[in-house]
Every structure is written in C-alpha cells, then in structure tokens.
C-alpha cells in the first residue's frame, strides 16, 4: 500500500484543467436561474443523481466525473445520498411511467432553491424511447428543467462544462 501511495505522490496529480463553461448552457441558465438564490449557495453545490429510466450509460459517465482525471469535487460539487441534502437534481433517462412518481417525489423532497439538470439525449426528449407505452417523455415533461446536457451519453468533459456553467450562473 505504501508503494502505491508513494508512487501516486511522486507522479503528481492526473487531474486535467476543467473545460470552459458551456456557452449554450449559460444561455439556457440565464433565463431560468433565480438571482436571489445565487447568493445563498456560494460556490458549492450538492448534486443528487436520479436515474428515471436510463440504460445506465449516462450513469457510467457521471461516475467518471469523480475519477482522478476530472475530479469534480475540486470545483465545489459533490454527490449526496438524499434529495434533502441536494441543490441540484441530475436526472438521466427518458422518464419511464414506472419512475414518474418516484422522480416527482424526489423533486418535491429537494429543498428550494434547486436546479434540475437533464443529462443525456433521452432526458432531453425521450430519445430513442420516445413514444413507447412505457415512457412518459423527457424530464421536462415531468419536472421543470433548468439545464440540458445532451449526448448519448454526454462525455465527462461535456458534463463538466454544463456543471461549470451552472456554477458560474449560480454563484
């Protein structure tokens, strides 16, 4: 264990500089983010991820945000276990009819001020699954969405750019 720790120490950090905030995201957020809420949160946002029906591809890339290369926490974001602790709901997948109520309850359990990010093409508009008897639609069909990060799945850089746009707008 000591060798691995020493090796990591000697090698220096793998973390790469973050991308610039996403321009499209900034424009979308300018319309939705309540300015009064910004001051309250400072530069730290807690994220609760909700899978509302995804194929789990988006979850893999959201997980990658925590690896040594992207190191999301250095920007002030961290993932939390309960919607009660969250400022941001990061929702993936087309919202299935079977998950619709669970998503609504999670949204209602998140204290104000809060933001909703729809992650992935399916979350944006249902994607390939739109029109199925089992799918309610995109996230915006169930709860209000402040920011959309498209992609199938969006890669960690795109996710980071979207989150940094949110941070810039919210702080």
């Amino acid at each position: 264990m000591r060798r691995t720790l020493l090796d990591s120490f000697m090698r220096g950090p793998l973390s790469e500089p973050g991308p610039k905030p996403d321009e499209a995201g900034l424009a979308e957020l300018a319309q939705s983010v309540n300015r009064a809420a910004r001051a309250k949160l400072g530069r730290s946002l807690s994220i609760r991820q909700v899978d509302a029906g995804s194929c789990n591809g988006c979850e893999l890339e959201i997980h990658a945000l925590n690896n040594a290369f992207y190191d999301l926490e250095r920007f002030g974001f961290h993932f939390v276990a309960s919607p009660r602790h969250a400022d941001v709901l990061m929702v993936t997948g087309p919202v299935t009819k079977n998950m619709r109520e669970a998503l609504l309850r999670t949204y209602n359990a998140t204290p104000d001020p809060k933001w909703v990010i729809a992650v992935g093409t399916c979350a944006a508009d249902g994607g390939l699954f739109a029109g199925s008897y089992a799918v309610a639609g995109g996230v915006t069909d169930v709860v209000p969405v402040d920011l959309t990060i498209p992609g199938c799945p969006p890669n960690p850089k795109a996710l980071l750019a979207g989150l940094l746009a949110l941070l810039q707008t919210a702080s």
Binding site: M1, S8, N56, P94, R100, E101, L128
Partner: protein
C-alpha cells in the same frame, strides 16, 4: 447461430420441463410471442442449444416455473407483456407492470389498463422482525429498483426485490423497426454492455439472413468486447472495494478504467463504443494509430495492475469484509444457469465465448477462471483473473488482425427468417432471439440479460448476512436494472 426452431405439443413442452427440472438442461430464456411461448435450452453435456415454441391454447401454456423456479419472473413478465397465462404458476403477481401504464398486455391484445391493487410482498413471520424498504431511488449513482429487507436485528432474514422501474418497452419499440434502428435500441438496453448487446443483435441478424461478417470485423468486434470487459471489471473491482470503504483501490482502478475508455474513444470514436457494431460488420475501422494506442494501453495496465492485485490480496481489513460474505450456493448457480462471475465464482464454468463459442474466440487461446467459494471475494478474484485473460486476448487479436473490408451488405431475403445470438458480456451471457420479415424489418426481438438469473441469486446470497454488507454483495453482482427491465 441458425437454429431450427421446434414447434412442440403439450407433451413436448412437458418433456422440456422434465429436462430442466432434472438438471440435464439449463434454461437460457423463456419469452412470449403472438399467441405462443418460446423457450431456449442449453444442454450442459453436449453444449447444444435448442429453441422450442408452444402455441398457446386459449392464451394459456403449462407453467415452467411450477417445476423449475428460475422461470418464475420470466413467466410473470410474459403475462404482463402478452397476457399469456402459465397454468399452474406458483406466483401470479405482476412483475414489470407496476400499474402506471395506460395499456395492459402492450405486446398482446393491448386492453385498457385497470387500476391494480397494492403489491403483495411475500409474508414474513417470526419474532422481533422489522422491515427496511429501500428504493426505487437509491443513495448512490445507480439504477432504480426496490429492495424490501426483513431483518432480525442486523441480520437479514429475507430480501425481496421488486424491479421494473426502468421498463422502457424496448421490445415493443423494436417491433416494426428497421435493422439499423433496432440495432441502436439493442445497444441501449444496458449501456455498460452496449458492445455485447450490439454484437448479440448482429449475430442474430446475420444468422437469420445468412450473411457472415468479414474476418476483420469479427476480430475488431472481439477487440471492442474485451475493452468493454476490461473497463467494467476495473470499475467493479474498485467499486466493490469502495463499498468496503477502501477508497484507494477505487481511485486506482478508476484511472485504469478511464484509460480504457479514452483508448476506445481514440480507436472507435466513442468511449463506450455505442453503435460501433452493426449487422454486417462494424460501422468504422479502427483509427490509423489505434493499434499503437491499444498496445500502449496494454503496457500501462500490465505495469499498474499487478500492484493493485497485490494491494487487494494483502489488505486484511478489506479481506475481512469480502471473504465469506454473500455466498451463493453452487446448487443454485447450476439450477439458475447463472453465467458470468456469479456463476464462475460458484463453480459453474459457463462462458459463451467458449461454449457454444463464436468467432474469433475459437481461434484464440484463453482460460475461463472458475472458483468454488461463491463469496464476494471469489467474485472479485474472478474479475481479476478475467482482466488478465482479456489482456492476453487483446494481445492475440492485435497480432492476428486480418486485413480487408469491415462490412458486408445485409440484405433482406424476401421471407420471414429467425436467428439467435449469444454473447458473453462482462457480467454474463446475453441472449438475443430475432425474427425478421422479408423486407428487413424486425417482427419480434427478445433480449435476455444475464441479470434475469443473477437477481434471484442475490436474494439468496444476502440471507443471514448483516444489512451493512448488502451494498458489498450487491456491487459484487452488479446486476443490470435496465437490461432486466427492458
């Protein structure tokens, strides 16, 4: 593979159930169709696969689950989707239909939905028992599902799962879709296994249309499949250790996983390699410097991974959590035909790459690691050994990559045709059965994830363990919710 389907009478269906209940054959799949049920069987001695169909009488068929429990959830799903009833079924509760759809039997007669009564969880009796309901929204970045624990103090007496939350109606979306659209849907059934699914779908389509892919595509498909296996195994090994609060392993394997994904992106244009495999071959050739990139990746993993194995092996506090935790009995694994690391950690050496086997693995040398302890530790070690095997496989693929085209035309042949694909995803075998019309559209496609037979075993593995060890057991299985719910 092309498999002549046998239409059986009630007697033939009953004999197939006899063979399953007697342990001579393993249930590979059980699914519905218009007015019929289909069953895929695997013979453990001859390695033969057979597909049977039974035309239902008045929408009923003799229950398989009545004598062979692994069919239970499959029969409940058939009833939810097609409205076909299993006569004598031991459990008639819904499975995928949670009461939120507008239609009943969406793949059958599509009646308007009726409001269902409350779901009846299995009764639990005894002194000092309490229940812990968990989900569908869980505490981590994971998929949704409901777990109902009954515990006596810290000890779990029973776990009952309730799944179906991410049911997207994929099989209904596939019906009538073009081959290209259906292949995309197959690749989004379980994102972590997109390569294995796209490959199984392509195998099924190519078998149905008798259109073999060119050799270069076959090799590059295997390269993608092994990269996918490496990425997932690295992720899992780290995540299991992380659930035992050993974050350092998670950080280290996270680096290796990211390197694999970046290499996949550089070689095939997508980190998870979605839509890279298509019926007829692959969508694009490996990048010009791709072989060198993969070589560099192999060198990096071979430099870093042995030390991580040593770290796992020499950390007593970690072993204290994983050894003897969440044991899956060998009998259950055999009965349920569990594949992947769940089966191989409990003595069942099934690997679809070996049996029945498919190209190019028949020409490559690799071992299928098997252990018998059946605990979390054994499932970690199977993954470690499989990483080593995958590295050797990638090396062989690079050394034997044929030149030539990467795609052969897949044309509809003017008549209805059927095909089956069976591939080895990182978590176990993926079965895809496909029927195409004469114009190249999908009439019926059924996909069966390895998780169908893993989930019930997770219920058995947690019994008698403490509640706090559930995340560890669950992660060591890493079942797919989306692949199961469809």
């Amino acid at each position: 593979m092309i498999l002549p389907r046998t239409n059986v009478t009630e007697e033939g269906w009953g004999q197939a159930i006899d063979r399953l209940a007697g342990g001579n054959q393993t249930l590979l799949g059980l699914w519905g169709d218009a007015g019929a049920v289909f069953m895929a069987l695997f013979d453990e001695k001859t390695f033969d696969i057979a597909v049977l169909s039974y035309a239902c009488k008045d929408g009923r068929y003799p229950s398989v689950a009545a004598r062979h429990p692994p069919a239970n959830r499959l029969e409940r799903a058939i009833r939810d989707l097609f409205g076909l009833e299993a006569t004598g079924a031991p459990d008639t509760r819904p499975w995928l239909n949670l009461g939120f759809w507008d239609v009943r039997h969406p793949l059958g007669n599509q009646e308007p939905a009726q409001k269902p009564g409350p779901y009846a969880f299995l009764p639990v009796e005894g002194e000092s028992l309490h229940q812990i309901p968990v989900g569908p929204v869980h505490a981590g970045i994971i998929e949704p599902g409901h777990f109902r624990f009954t515990a006596n103090g810290e000890h779990v007496v029973r776990l009952e799962q309730r799944l179906g939350y991410v049911h997207k109606g994929i099989e209904s979306l596939m019906a009538g879709a073009s081959l290209a659209d259906a292949a995309k849907l197959a690749g989004r059934t379980s994102g972590d296994s997109t390569v294995a699914y796209a490959l199984a779908f392509a195998q099924a389509a190519e078998a149905a249309l008798e259109a073999p892919p060119p050799p270069r595509a076959v090799h590059l498909r295997a390269l993608m499949a092994e990269l996918e296996r490496l990425a997932n195994h690295f992720g899992d090994i780290g995540a299991i250790c992380n659930d035992a609060s050993f974050a350092m392993m998670h950080a280290q394997t996270g680096i290796l996983r990211e390197r694999v994904l970046r290499t996949a992106d550089a070689c095939f244009g997508h980190r998870l390699m979605m839509d890279a495999i298509v019926p007829g071959g692959i969508a694009r050739d490996i990048a010009a410097d791709g072989l060198a990139q993969v070589q560099a990746l192999l060198a990096e993993i071979q430099r870093a991974f042995p030390r991580l194995i040593e770290l796992y092996d020499n950390t007593a506090s970690l072993q204290d959590r994983t050894v003897t935790t969440g044991i899956v009995k060998a009998d259950y694994v055999r009965q349920f035909g569990a594949g992947g690391y769940v089966g191989r950690a409990s003595g069942r050496g099934f690997d679809a790459r070996r049996t029945p086997g498919y190209a190019p693995y028949d020409a490559l040398a690799f071992e299928v690691p098997v252990l018998t302890a059946g605990d979390v530790n054994a499932r970690v070690w199977i993954r470690i050994r499989e990483v080593e095997q995958s590295l050797a496989l990638v090396d062989q693929i690079l050394g034997s990559l044929p030149a030539g085209t990467i795609h052969a035309a897949v044309k509809p042949n003017g008549k209805t045709c059927e095909g089956l694909g069976l591939t080895e995803a990182f978590r176990g075998d993926v079965l895809i059965w496909l029927r195409l019309d004469g114009k190249g559209h999908v009439e019926r496609c059924h996909m069966r994830d390895a998780s169908w037979f893993h989930w019930p075993l997770l219920e058995t593995a947690i019994e008698g363990n403490i509640v706090a060890d559930f995340p560890l057991c669950n992660k060591s299985f890493n079942c797919s919710y989306s692949g199961h719910d469809l």
